[in-house]
């Protein structure tokens, strides 16, 4: 017994009447499910991997700049003494921001991390839709 959401895709209504037969009949519920989800979210889904909101774009930019900057800093600090605490801390910071950037990139593959925040706070500066 299969009840299909009617979203304009093929409705195999004969299945409903033949509820006794569960055999190997395929039920096609493909694109309709995705469309419904997007409709519910009330927003179009932008190309994956791209920042949708200004806030996310700013974070990406900030992390990228920090990686560059902190690598330069670490190289400078470690020139004197490679085993010093300052040297360790400097490279640890590089690791931290590199991982943070990688996490952000990964999250972006699914959706903009600010998606839910911006649904509730659409008027904030962070939530302006980012245009390249």
């Amino acid at each position: 017994m299969a009840s299909l959401a009617s979203t304009g895709t093929t409705r195999t209504s004969f299945l409903a009447s033949r509820s006794s037969c569960f055999c190997s009949k395929k039920v096609i519920v493909t694109v309709s499910v995705q469309q419904k989800k997007a409709e519910r979210r009330n927003m179009s889904v932008k190309a994956t991997g791209m920042a949708k909101f200004k806030g996310t774009h700013m974070r990406e930019k900030h992390l990228t700049e920090m990686i560059e900057q902190k690598v330069i800093e670490a190289k400078q600090v470690c020139e004197g003494d490679m085993t010093s605490d300052e040297c360790k801390v400097a490279w640890d910071e590089v690791e931290e921001v590199s991982q943070a950037k990688a996490d952000l990139r990964r999250k972006l593959e699914e959706q903009d991390p600010l998606e839910f925040f911006c649904q509730d706070n659409p008027e904030t500066d962070e939530c302006r839709v980012y245009e390249d």
């Binding site: 605490d85 801390v89 640890d92 590199s98 991982q99």
Partner: protein
């Protein structure tokens, strides 16, 4: 519309579960007198002959959250493991909605994942001033970690701080409600003895230096600031603290996933083909190690042959009992990678004690996340299996508690 009303006439330090056939269990923790009004609307699409009954059961006694600890260095696959784990339990784990968008917490129906960086006592500036890395225990507040994990385990919500990785600052706290399964992941879940004792199960991801280097190259080479030298320098500078504070935790873990370069290809330094060892402690409550063919024996197995054709470099398994830091362990090792679906299902069908609920569940989970790193080798396979073992452990714990529910109030 059906309305069920529950009156509690005495203070119950109890758990109440509200269960309707069409929704998942909702669990509430009560610590004082509560009036519960529960209404359920009858769905228009009723199942054949089914009645919409709602059952409210209250059992006195604490609802203990099951706590899992996951330790690994930064950039070593904790996030991927978390995603596989939460997928096994069902539901997608997402950051808490409506809160701080830079929160590190993930919440799904059954599981809450907390990042232990949130218990940093020093923010980025503070650590720089003191000359202390994030790996150093001095940068972390273990008292708070213990207090809050203990509270959550006992069913009490907490206001947990947030460490913001973008700004490097400690943000205002967020409310964490006790979940069914709490996962604490980070650098130090097993460092403090008190926190260690709260864990029902613990895992350590032990990535060898060569593999770590290869993974970080993959992660960072696209970044403008990075080069091979900077990536290498970062790993080496952090190594002393890592060896002193993080690595020793592996002796306490119930399961260690060790990732090494392959032995199948001489001089392979790309780190693409991996040798992965799943080291499982013997004698852990509710956890029975996975084995090949004969529990406790030593087996060397190459599945590729007449029944299964594999492409280069193939797949090799090893299973044997060993001693690890003075403990009896069973080790299941996989070297090589899967190229085809039928290789995966063939391997799965020969493993025992994998706690699947149906034949092919491991394969199905791996396919579901075919885009995750490690989906074609032992890292994905063993992470998925550990996820299933944890699910099994969780269900056994719940079952053992259900055997003795103290006073149950009648509705």
């Amino acid at each position: 519309m059906a309305i069920c009303t529950v009156y509690t006439t005495q203070s119950l330090n109890s758990t109440c579960s509200i269960y309707t056939p069409s929704t998942t269990k909702t669990q509430l923790s009560f610590h004082q007198k509560q009036l519960v009004l529960f209404s359920s609307s009858k769905r228009s699409r009723s199942k054949r002959g089914g009645s919409n009954t709602c059952v409210i059961t209250c059992a006195a006694g604490h609802s203990e959250t099951v706590v899992i600890g996951l330790a690994a260095d930064s950039g070593c696959g904790k996030s991927t493991f978390m995603r596989r784990l939460t997928s096994v339990f069902g539901g997608a784990a997402e950051p808490p909605k409506g809160g701080n968008p830079d929160s590190n917490t993930l919440i799904s129906d059954t599981t809450t994942v907390i990042c232990l960086d949130d218990f940093h006592s020093l923010d980025r500036t503070g650590r720089k001033e003191k000359g202390v890395t994030a790996l150093d225990p001095r940068a972390n507040n273990f008292d708070l970690m213990y207090e809050q994990v203990k509270a959550l385990k006992e069913g009490v919500a907490v206001e947990k701080p947030i460490y913001n990785h973008v700004t490097g600052l400690l943000d205002p706290p967020e409310l964490i409600k006790p979940p069914k399964i709490l996962v604490i992941e980070g650098l130090h879940p097993m460092f403090d003895q008190r926190v260690r004792d709260l864990l029902d199960f613990s895992i350590y991801l032990d990535i060898s230096n060569e593999v770590k280097f290869a993974w970080k190259i993959q992660r960072d080479m696209a970044e403008r600031g990075h080069s091979l030298e900077s990536i290498k320098a970062s790993i080496e500078a952090r190594k002393p603290d890592f060896d002193a504070y993080i690595d020793p935790q592996k002796q306490y873990a119930d399961a260690v996933i060790e990732v090494l370069p392959t032995q199948l290809i001489p001089d392979d330094n790309e780190g693409k083909v991996l040798r992965v060892r799943l080291i499982m402690k013997e004698g852990v409550k509710f956890f029975s190690p996975v084995y090949l063919f004969d529990d406790g024996s030593t087996i060397s197995w190459i599945p590729c042959g007449r029944k299964l054709t594999c492409s280069y470099p193939g797949i090799k398994f090893l299973y044997c009992p060993e001693t690890y830091f003075g403990h009896e362990v069973s080790v299941l090792e996989m070297d090589g990678q899967f190229d085809r679906l039928d290789e995966l299902i063939y391997v799965e069908s020969h493993l025992s004690n994998i706690s699947t609920k149906f034949y092919g569940e491991v394969t199905q989970q791996m396919l579901k996340h075919a885009d995750f790193p490690g989906s074609n080798n032992g890292t994905g396979l063993f992470q998925t299996i550990v996820g299933l073992k944890i699910r099994d452990l969780f269900e056994q714990i719940i079952a053992s508690k259900a055997v003795a529910p103290a006073q149950a109030t009648k509705v």
